[in-house]
């Protein structure tokens, strides 16, 4: 499993609004396409994404097959305190990836 790409500033001022960008490798197969054997390819998507900052949920997303392959997300958060930001993706066929990023708030 390839690691997701996460962009979080390493340091931020207290109260500053920072942008977080994530990109994860995933086919996001819609379940509506026909494969080379003429059969419908089964659905394989990421369904849920959640971002937790020092135990507090700051952002979450529910995906449908209409999200492009290799889902990209950009969102914001308030740099409240130093600590760890946890990212988790969950989806079909037991797909589950968790990644963390550290941030120092000055």
């Amino acid at each position: 499993m390839t690691r997701p790409l996460i962009k979080v500033p390493q340091t931020a001022k207290r109260g500053e609004i920072i942008e977080i960008k994530t990109l994860i490798s995933h086919p996001m197969e819609t379940g509506y396409r026909t494969g080379l054997n003429g059969l419908t390819l089964p659905r394989d998507i990421i369904q849920r994404f959640v971002c937790i900052y020092n135990g507090t949920e700051i952002f979450s997303a529910a995906f449908s097959p209409a999200i492009a392959a290799n889902p990209f997300l950009s969102f914001f958060t308030v740099a409240a305190e130093s600590g760890t930001i946890l990212f988790q993706w969950r989806g079909d066929n037991g797909f589950s990836v968790t990644e963390t990023a550290d941030i120092t708030v000055l």
């Binding site: 700051i58 979450s60 209409a66 492009a68 308030v78």
Partner: protein, 165 residues
Amino acid sequence: MSSRSSPPCGSSRRDFLLHAGECAAGAVMISLVTIRASRATPDMMQAAIHEILGTSEPQSGRVKLDLPPLVENGNAVPLTVSVDSPMTAQDHVTAIHLFNEKNPQPYVASFRLNPRTGKAVVATRIKLADSQQVTAIAQMSDGSFWSDSAQVIVTIAACVEDVQP
């Protein structure tokens, strides 16, 4: 005798041809129906929107949906939703919902936000199966709904195209 035997033969051939014609017409009808059934419609989008909004109607304004007006490849269409909100504990965006008219499903994605999100701006990439309207609806902490729509022209469709050898 041969002239007697030929009419039944001819009629059966005619029957066969007629029947074949009907079958072909039927097959065309069925394939049309199945193609139609695999796509959402603007009505389905409205139904999906009302499933989330209940009886309330979304107001226009406060939400800005940024999408390129012309997209070459529907497999990855960049999209940004920004909502005009102070994002305080008293007044913030609780959710952003995205819908489309003509993909197989009317839902695209839902995002949950809270005051810790700080800024109600979300960007992602979506698939579009056809030229269509995309709608973003923001749900506020006071229970109101705001929406914005964008029309997109897509030259290469996504979602339902078959795998190429």
